[in-house]
Amino acid sequence: MSIAIRAAIVCLLSISSLLAAERRIDSDQGFEQFTASKSVKRLDIYSATDTRAIKPIIEAFERLHPYIDVRYNEYESTTLYNGLTSGKIKGADVVLSSAMDLQVKLVNDGYARTLNIPESIDLPDWSHWRNEAFGFTFEPVVIAYNKASFKDTPLPSSHESLVDALRNDPEQYYEKVGSYDIRLSGAGYFFATHDTVVSSISGRILESLARASSHTYCCTSDMLDDLGEGKLALAYNVLGSYALARARKDNRIGVIMPEDYTLVMSRVALVPKQTDNFAAAQTFIRFLLSKEGQQIIASKSNLIALRPEATGPSSIAAISEKRQLRFHPIKIGLPVMTFQDEMKRERFIREWSQLFDARTP
């Protein structure tokens, strides 16, 4: 290609990105003027995310858009989903949830509105669906461990080696392993089912966990508490953002990202159809995905930013620590709905329960 043509293309590209940026600013300003003339607009965010984790982002957004008054409502993800589909929850302008499967089902079943996200915000292919559901975090599913328990024992580095270790070293692991109770934890169910998609040894993992009489937990924090106190030596399939945040504060806890594959989930944002404040909702999600928003996630929140260029303690660069990891992001799209199939779910939980109810007390 000749230099002239390249220059022309670069020129065109920069013009089009300028135009895109212009458009974005326009619509933002349009909204600002609109709200300014009609006083403060209220934006209701319904979220299945720890208020503490999301707070810095909302504060930054409110600073940028003083005419939008954000109300944050925290729910458990299944309650949130049921409330939205049954119509019991009304007035949500933005829905944030770590339950990717439920968010995708909301989109598929027509509860979400199409957003116009400028092309300048470039997102990984796996992190959004239909311009309706947008992932905004990058959260690996990890194995957490109690450092003291592994003073003399090698750490399992992959799923395969974990299965072997559980089987071969009962002294180390028996009744000292924790994992989610998939009947109580949506995330636990989601991670366990996606192990079956990615791994050929997922059955053996569950079996060995059951045989080691693992403890099951409803919630990540309880599991991490027990891990820190040494009641557990190892916690399997823990939500990485929480585990890493805890490990930063509690140096008794370490985090392993399995080197054969590390599942990655993303918190998903969407705007429900019935929002009466679409412009503000769209502005919020644009902010969430923008460089600025992502930078705040990476530097100030416990969540992990989706965009690789973000820097800070909660960035992809920081959590990988220059290791080559096989991150396996779960694509936001139709297939994650598979495990929301009633019969599939029943069957999976039945099989899981058969394994885990047979544990020796």
């Binding site: 989109v107 598929n108 079943d109 027509g110 669906w129 239909r130 079956t196 998609v197 694509k331 799209g333 139709l334 297939p335 709905m337 598979t338 199939d341 009633e342 019969m343 599939k344 069957r347």
Partner: protein
């Protein structure tokens, strides 16, 4: 065929005609392509749907007397090849018993369970859906009957594929048609080349270069060249006639002038008063002849010019003829000539040039006076027929010998009458020119026992 008024370009006409035809063809083909594109897109994505439905139905089993389905991950994974489309499904057991999925997902209107997939279109949750239904016969202990999978997909990927095919095909069609039109334009230029060459040849010819144009091998252009050659031949003969006319006119005028000059010279030397008087009479006669010749030449020039400039207007013949006759009667009040007027159609109006018609008729009457006896009876009149009107002048003069009737209308063919009368022979030529200018014919006939009938037969157009 549409009306084409005024000037038009053969090239543009051919091109626009063909372009119109091509546009029609393009529309018809586009409709075909549209259908083809839709069908192709449907076939492609129907395969995905079938694959997904079969993957699901394969996982329907009976377990302890209960029908159970283990939805395979692949079922939705296959369909996510249409990345933006929504998917709905429902699985039902024997007796239409709901097992899992979207409970109220619609089924096709009429359906008999069968293992081969049946496709249908429907709407669900405000989406336009393409769906398939597949059944499987389950014959296990405790469970028997048809189990059924219905799965549907929104149409985004289908539509975009069919649009892509459609646009691609139409782009090709447009390209082909553009090429066809371009080569047609080229072809038309090549076809019209002989015409351009012909006009160049004509343009570059010298005015006096009279030979035939170079021949052509093109069948369609041959008649054109033949016509041009024919036209040029006629033009040439007209030019020749004009040259003869000028030569004759100058000869006659010179002869008359030198005759007057000679008479004047002789008169100057004449001392005898009676003889001088005689000379003067001769001079006056010569001069009158000259005047008449000049008048007729000018009249001829006038009518020829008016013919070329086409100055027609509605003329009421009765008014025109009465006026001519009145002035003739006044001019010859002292003679014993009898003037008659014969007209039964007082209101007849025709399209004509009144000036040249008047000059023509006056000339004919003058001719009749000049060549006729002193007690001449001259009749001016019209005969009206359905398609034409004849204006005639009859006299009781000597007439024209039958063998000379045809030549009489040519210029300066003075008829030998044996009587020395002033005449230039232009009168009939003027009448002929005027008649032709009116699209009519000049008829000459001798009357019995003697006399001439000159008849202007004019068409009654646009009355």
């Amino acid at each position: 065929m549409w009306m084409i008024s005024g000037r038009y370009s053969l090239r543009k006409r051919l091109l626009s005609g063909t372009a119109g035809l091509m546009l029609g063809v393009l529309l018809v083909l586009s409709a075909g392509v549209w259908q083809y594109a839709n069908r192709t897109a449907d076939i492609s994505y129907d395969r995905l749907l079938t694959g997904s439905a079969l993957a699901i139905i394969e996982r329907i089993r009976s377990r302890n007397g209960q029908v159970e389905v283990d939805l395979p991950y692949a079922a939705l994974d296959i369909l996510s090849l249409a990345p933006d489309d929504k998917v709905y499904y429902v699985v039902s057991g024997p007796d239409k018993q709901y097992l899992t999925g979207y409970r109220d997902f619609p089924s096709p209107e009429r359906y008999t369970p069968s293992a081969s997939p049946v496709f249908y279109n429907t709407d669900y949750l405000n989406e336009s859906i393409r769906a398939v239904v597949v059944s499987k016969r389950l014959d296990d202990p405790g469970v028997s009957g048809w189990v059924e999978v219905r799965i549907g997909q929104s149409r985004i990927a289908r539509n975009s594929l069919s649009n892509e095919i459609l646009l691609g095909e139409i782009a090709v069609l447009v390209l082909v048609i553009t090429l066809a039109l371009a080569s047609l334009a080229f072809g038309i230029n090549r076809t019209l080349f002989p015409l351009n060459q012909l006009s160049r040849t004509l343009r570059e010819r010298r005015a006096d270069e009279m030979g035939p144009l170079p021949d052509t091998d093109i069948k369609e252009v041959k008649p054109l060249i033949a016509s041009i050659d024919q036209y040029r031949t006629r033009l040439q003969s007209n030019l020749d006639m004009m040259q003869v006319f000028i030569a004759d006119a100058s000869h006659q005028i010179r002869t008359a002038l030198s005759s007057v000059q000679a008479q004047l010279d002789m008169a100057e030397m004449e001392h005898d008063k009676d003889k001088l008087q005689n000379r003067l009479t001769l001079i006056r006669n010569q001069h009158r002849k000259l005047t008449r010749l000049t008048n007729q030449l000018l009249t001829h020039a006038l009518v020829a010019h008016r013919r070329d400039t086409n100055q027609f207007q509605p003329v009421k013949l009765d008014t025109l003829l009465s006026a001519i006759l009145t002035s003739e009667v006044r001019d010859h009040a002292d003679s014993s000539i009898e003037f008659n007027y014969s007209n039964t159609q007082r209101d007849l109006t025709i399209d004509a040039d009144p000036v040249s018609l008047r000059e023509c008729l006056r000339n004919l009457i003058d001719n009749a006076i000049k060549y006729g006896p002193e007690n001449n009876s001259i009749t001016l009149g019209i005969d009206v027929e359905a398609e034409q009107v004849s204006i005639f002048v009859e006299d009781e003069g000597p007439g024209i010998p039958d063998e000379m009737l045809q030549r009489a209308v040519l210029r300066f063919e003075r008829i030998e009458t044996g009587k020395n009368t002033l005449g230039s022979g232009l009168g009939l030529a003027i009448a002929n020119t005027v008649t032709e200018a009116h699209g009519g014919q000049l008829h000459l006939s001798n009357r019995q026992p003697h006399g001439l009938r000159v008849e202007l037969v004019l068409p009654r157009r646009r009355i």
